[in-house]
């Protein structure tokens, strides 16, 4: 298992998860801080001070210009961060075309759909595979394959592997003229017989 083949298993939700965790931490920290102040942990008198603290109001009145710039700065940062996060998580996962040659005059690019159709047709000829779905992930220079195979009940997984690596992936590597092509294979076991009730976590 290489890092790139592992990354091709599924689209990463790492960015979304990190941002969600950070946002959650900020909210929890703010709430805990407000409660601690309210219960007098930072001094009994601080707990009795008004929410709109006269000290703060005094400072704001004395430094109007600075307050304006600070508020605008916070607003801009929040706006840009939120916009970047939204666009980032709404963007579909890219389907790269593969460039085989970058030499000027003989540039050669293979379309995403052409590769996927070819590999899928190959994979579906394997014994025991009832359905195959294939797509490329990653960039045009460093593509990786993602293959989902639906296996007939009772198929030996090792036989499928042998066929997949020896024939299907070997041909794909040959076509790309690379020695190794990072690949993530997802197997659906026993999927073609009548559906049976199975509870999963």
């Amino acid at each position: 298992m290489s890092r790139r083949s592992r990354a091709a298993v599924a689209r990463s939700a790492g960015g979304d998860r990190t941002l969600t965790v950070v946002l959650g931490l900020v909210l929890v920290a703010a709430a805990v801080l407000a409660l601690l102040v309210g219960y007098g942990v930072f001094g009994v008198f601080r707990a009795q001070r008004p929410l709109i603290d006269p000290l703060l109001v005094e400072w704001v009145t004395a430094h109007t210009g600075a307050t304006r710039w600070i508020a605008v700065g916070i607003g801009v940062v929040l706006f840009l961060l939120g916009l970047w996060w939204t666009l980032r998580s709404l963007r579909p996962e890219p389907r790269p075309d593969v460039s085989l040659s970058e030499v000027p005059g003989e540039r050669l690019t293979v379309e995403h759909s052409a590769i996927c159709d070819a590999v899928r047709a190959d994979a579906e000829t394997i014994d025991g595979v009832s359905r195959a779905r294939v797509r490329l992930v990653g960039g045009p220079q460093r593509p990786a394959l993602r293959i989902a195979l639906t296996l007939v009940e009772g198929t030996d997984v090792r036989d499928v592997w042998a066929d997949l690596d020896g024939r299907v992936l070997a041909r794909a590597r040959e076509a790309f003229s690379v020695s190794a092509l990072p690949t993530a294979v997802r197997l659906e076991l026993d999927a073609t017989s009548a559906p049976t009730p199975a509870r999963v976590e």
Partner: protein, 177 residues
Amino acid sequence: MRLLLRVLAPLLGLALAVVGLAIVVETVTLWVAPASSPLIVPWPSWRTAIEGLTWQSGVVRGVAIGVGVVGLLVLLLGLVARRHDVYLADPVPEVTVTTSPRSLARAVGHEVRSHEDVVSASVVATTKRITVKASTLDPADTVRDAVRARVDELLGRLPLARRPRVAVSVTTTKGVK
């Protein structure tokens, strides 16, 4: 949980962007044209509402607890939205093979139900553990051993990266064979 994250993440981002935009717009309005402030957000009325409150006020505590609970839920969502793939041993370097817990449970379920003495069975599978609950009309002990042997044999055929622990429980139900 991953689906919820996929839906909520853009919404949270959008909320941040809206809050940021509102702060900028209101600040600039108050600065440039104080007469037309507030433009969108009625913040002066909010200000009068919280004017008399101290940090000890019940309202402040209530809001803080509410924010804390929401924050905790968001935090948990971010932490639990991970993938639950079951990894198989790699046939060759550069290839990663996975299957889903659901699919593994289905395969084990077929194997268990194919035993002629098993009346019904349910299977729960994760990367670390497979739990089989089966019922039979025969003495439970013998069937349990047979079911365990079948599951072990299946796991032997399936090259999983780490072999999950198997827990089999068989109960005898009443009925006519």
